[in-house]
């Protein structure tokens, strides 16, 4: 009863305090580890901060690094909302990038307002196709998405390696295995003069809005959430679990594919092997820290983008390897999913019982 009377702001702050604690604790633990390894953590974090907020250009770079993370986070969150753990963002990202590169390097002469959307759609479809394969194998053969997503990641990585050393290799530019450059009519324009901040930011924001509208304002989205929260409730209400999961997985894959495609159309401009590194798995941290909510995903994507961005300055000036941030990221995931650890349910119950005993 007490809870119902609380106003919205208080409840929002309550939601917020846990992720904030998780981030702070992860940074503290990493700091201790840096200390133990012989680095100066305060110095390192200062340079990290400076690298992220030192100038307009470096500040805008937080967004540049955060944009792909928004899509990876949305991908993981969308699947999770339907009850699927999507560890296949890496493969979906690469196939999205592959499709996007193909369309983006062909069809010269198209005006930008046709070519660019077409390329983005191709990227979405490429990732969506990968998502569809996962849900098809699950519903048709009962194949666990855990195994299939990881297998498909590796297949996609090899396929990209083949494409850029073989059929899509651009021999004209260099002997380096990479595709031809994206045509100008498919490139995402820069939206802030003098920086690398590109129109992908707008698409990322639109994607977050889409995620919100789809899940909370459409009938289909409602079904996806019900099926994901409790599949038996969904079945009881006459919902088709397989169909809803399939749609969610296609959108999830599409999001990751779109993210990969946008990287190619902005920062990368050419398809290369392993251009995305660990980005696919970063989505897990982004979605979990954001609690699968639209605003949460946006904010945590920015946070991880910032860590990523600041870490290069940290590496350069404090000599702390930028891979350090992956330790922070891993710890954040552990702390967020280990939420139960901090609830102290047992202690709370005891206190409540004592109170009740007193009142009686």
């Amino acid at each position: 009863m007490r809870k119902a009377n609380k106003n919205k702001l208080v409840r929002f702050l309550e939601e917020l305090y846990y992720p904030v604690i998780a981030v702070v604790v992860a940074i503290l633990i990493s700091g201790l580890m840096m200390q133990a390894l012989g680095f100066d953590p305060i110095n390192a974090y200062m340079y990290l901060f400076q690298g992220a907020f030192g100038s307009v250009a470096s500040f805008s770079e937080n967004f540049v690094k955060g944009i792909p993370l928004v899509f990876m986070g949305l991908s993981f969150a969308m699947a999770m909302r339907s009850g699927i753990i999507n560890l296949g963002a890496t493969g979906q990202l690469y196939i999205g990038a592959l499709f996007g590169t193909f369309v983006g390097t062909h069809f010269a002469g198209l005006p930008i307002f046709i070519h660019l959307p077409l390329t983005l759609i191709a990227g979405f479809l490429g990732g969506g196709l990968m998502g569809w394969i996962v849900s098809f194998l699950k519903s048709r053969f009962g194949a666990s998405e855990l195994i299939t997503t990881i297998m498909l990641n590796n297949i996609a990585i090899q396929l990209i390696s083949y494409m850029v050393t073989g059929p899509m290799k651009d021999n004209a530019s260099s002997s380096f295995p990479q595709s031809a450059r994206i045509l100008e009519s498919a490139e995402l324009p820069i939206i802030l003069e003098g920086t690398r901040l590109h129109a992908g930011l707008i698409i990322a924001i639109l994607a977050i809005v889409f995620y919100y509208v789809f899940l909370w304002w459409t009938r289909r989205g409602y079904e996806v959430r019900v099926v994901g929260a409790n599949r038996y409730a969904g079945i009881y209400a006459g919902m088709n679990v397989r169909k809803n999961q399939m749609i969610a997985m296609m959108i999830a894959g599409g999001m990751a594919g779109l993210g990969g495609c946008i990287e190619i159309l902005s920062v990368q401009t050419r398809l290369m092997q392993a251009f995305a590194g660990n980005t696919g798995f970063d989505g897990v941290a982004v979605a979990l820290l954001g609690n699968n909510t639209p605003v949460g995903i946006g904010v945590s994507a920015f946070l991880f983008g910032m860590l990523n961005n600041g870490s290069s300055t940290m590496e350069m000036l404090a000599r702390v390897p930028n891979a350090m941030i992956y330790m922070i990221q891993g710890l954040i995931i552990l702390l967020v999913v280990g939420r139960n650890m901090f609830r102290f349910e047992g202690i709370r119950k005891k206190i409540r019982r004592k109170k009740r005993a007193k009142e009686a």
């Binding site: 194949a143 855990l146 195994i147 090899q158 083949y162 798995f281 390897p321 990221q329 280990g338």
Partner: protein, 305 residues
């Protein structure tokens, strides 16, 4: 021709060994109902810690023990979150993998610096006197590093423990029906902690073999998906030690063929050879389905009543 077959078999076995060691641990883990995606990160930590241990002690075997020791701590963390806290196992595994990427790069730079190749003791080949004289197979199988022999002997031993002893029965029952086990007085948590620690230790050993048996130094991100292939081998081998041996030999053959085919004129791009294990695994899990030995409680945390 015979020489080619021998060298192919030898490479196959060398490639398969780390997968086999890691997968044997995962069999026990999976049979008790735990999916350990973190094996990739644990192998990575093992490969670095093996090198670090060997660097400071001057012995590859002691290095491997260091790798095992560090991984016991890492898997204790995994077990704590997956079993006690009941968090999602896959997410915890991903966290371990992410953390391991950061940890290994950082520690490697601190100890060895950038771009320096480490001068360490590695696993030497041990030729077994009489057996290595057998034509074709002898030279391929009985002229390997000691860990290869240990892995091969472990297959029947671990099969026996899993299928024929009460300990094995306990592990399998916990995976199939934790509630029932709890009722008859088996400590579900303790069994799962045990299998997770066991698979972590073997992942460490597997990692140490990659950096000190296949190669002779640590490089960043050197595991490169081997942990995931080991997971695949468990599924393909249908959660049995013998099956896992066969599966890892198939995967090993795919990467051995890759080297061989690059040297010959047959023009299948090598990436397709590398893809093969993953494709086979996907097909296999689609075909098994009904006859799978997968534990019924896979991935579900157990709530003590």
């Amino acid at each position: 021709m015979i020489e080619m077959i021998t060298s192919f078999l030898s490479t196959d076995l060398r490639m398969a060994t780390p997968l086999l060691i890691a997968a044997l641990g995962l069999v026990y883990c999976s049979r008790s109902g735990i999916v350990n995606i973190g094996v990739e990160g644990m192998m990575l930590i093992g490969s670095l810690m093996g090198v670090v241990g060997s660097y400071y002690t001057g012995s590859a075997l002691l290095g491997a023990l260091v790798a095992i020791g560090v991984n016991l701590i890492v898997s204790l963390v995994f077990a704590f979150f997956a079993v006690t806290i009941k968090a999602d196992q896959n997410v915890i595994g991903t966290a371990i993998n992410t953390f391991a990427t950061g940890l290994t790069v950082t520690v490697n730079r601190v100890i060895f610096g950038v771009g320096t190749s480490q001068n360490i003791e590695v696993f030497e080949r041990v030729k077994i006197p009489v057996l290595s004289e057998i034509p074709i197979i002898g030279e391929a199988v009985f002229d390997q590093a000691i860990l290869v022999y240990i892995a091969l002997i472990a297959v029947p031993v671990l099969w026996f423990i899993l299928m024929k002893t009460s300990l094995g029965l306990k592990i399998r029952s916990v995976g199939e029906n934790p509630q029932a086990c709890d009722t008859v007085g088996i400590n579900v948590y303790r069994v799962r902690y045990g299998t997770i620690l066991f698979s972590g230790a073997l992942a460490g050993l597997a990692g140490a073999y990659v950096s000190m048996g296949q190669l002779n130094s640590f490089t960043e991100d050197m595991i490169a998906g081997r942990g995931f292939i080991a997971l695949a081998a468990v599924v393909l081998g249908n959660y049995m030690p013998g099956g896992v041996l066969a599966a890892t030999l198939i995967f090993g053959a795919a990467s051995a063929l890759q080297y061989r085919m690059q040297a010959t004129a047959i023009s299948v791009p090598y990436q397709f050879w590398l893809m093969l294990p993953y494709v086979i695994t996907i097909i296999a899990i689609c075909l098994y389905r009904k006859s799978s030995n997968q534990a019924a409680s896979t991935g579900k945390p157990y709530n003590k009543q």
